[in-house]
């Protein structure tokens, strides 16, 4: 299991989601992708998209207005 991080701080929607979709295709099943965001709408659309793909998702509020969306590529 490998862990990848993409830095989407300072990026507005839909860029974080587009980067997430692109990155998740290049990682192996079982790997974990951490998406760093500070745009509250990405806090909604990134996890929602990942859940519709059937991945495990967790959101951590790491600071005021800053989140890490942790996505486990389960399949």
């Amino acid at each position: 299991m490998k862990e990848y991080t993409i830095d989407c701080l300072g990026e507005a929607c839909p860029v974080p989601l587009m980067k997430t979709e692109k990155k998740i295709n290049s990682i192996e099943v079982g790997d974990v992708l951490i998406v760093q965001i500070d745009h509250s709408c990405a806090m909604k659309n990134v996890p929602e998209w990942a859940r519709t793909q059937g991945y495990n998702v967790e959101i951590d509020e790491v600071a005021d207005g800053e989140w890490e969306v942790v996505i486990e590529k389960t399949k």
């Binding site: 701080l9 300072g10 860029v15 980067k19 509250s40 806090m43 600071a63 005021d64 207005g65």
Partner: protein, 182 residues
């Protein structure tokens, strides 16, 4: 103070109302109800970008310019609005409300953050996008609020025409976004 905050953070009503984002359905219902209230109380459908043109005119006049001869501001109504000033323009007050309300919402959710600028590319795209949107909204006599949302809510065909154009624009925009920002 810290104890109050820690208590508040765990309060289910606080998290439901101020912290977590509303669902799209909740947002849609609130928007619908509030735009009806706005139309009933002010007599005008909700619009956003029109008032910004007035702000631009006021700033231009403040630095010594004049928009009297501009076609856009040539109607008597537009001239009266400009003469009436900020406090008498309901659209301007609404926009000030949006800005103050958005600031209050992000502060109440404890999510206020000054975001860093990532690249020069981002600045160029933002400025270019802003100019195109502002100019386009004035050509169309409305933005996605005045022309689309209020247009469709007023059962006007123009709202649907605007929606079609918006879809085409969003499609091209997303292609450009993928090309330059991915």
């Amino acid at each position: 103070m810290k104890i109050i905050w820690e208590k508040l953070e765990k309060n289910q009503y606080y998290t439901a109302i101020f912290k977590n984002p509303f669902t799209y359905v909740t947002g849609a219902i609130l928007l619908s109800v509030l735009q009806i209230a706005l139309l009933a109380s002010s007599g005008n459908p909700w619009g956003v970008s029109g008032a910004f043109a007035n702000w631009g005119a006021w700033i231009f006049e403040a630095v010594g310019g004049s928009v009297d001869k501009w076609f856009y501001f040539s109607s008597e109504g537009a001239q009266n609005t400009l003469k009436g000033g900020f406090l008498n323009d309901t659209g301007s007050i609404q926009n000030a409300g949006i800005i103050i309300g958005a600031l209050a919402a992000t502060l109440l959710a404890s999510q206020f953050k000054l975001k860093k600028i990532k690249s020069v590319k981002q600045v160029i795209a933002a400025v270019l996008g802003g100019l195109l949107m502002g100019y386009g909204a004035r050509l169309a006599f409305g933005c996605n609020i005045g022309a689309l949302f209020s247009g469709i809510a007023s059962l006007s065909l123009s709202g649907w025409v605007f929606a079609l154009a918006l879809l085409v624009g969003a499609f091209i925009g997303s292609k450009l976004l993928a090309k330059f920002f991915m």
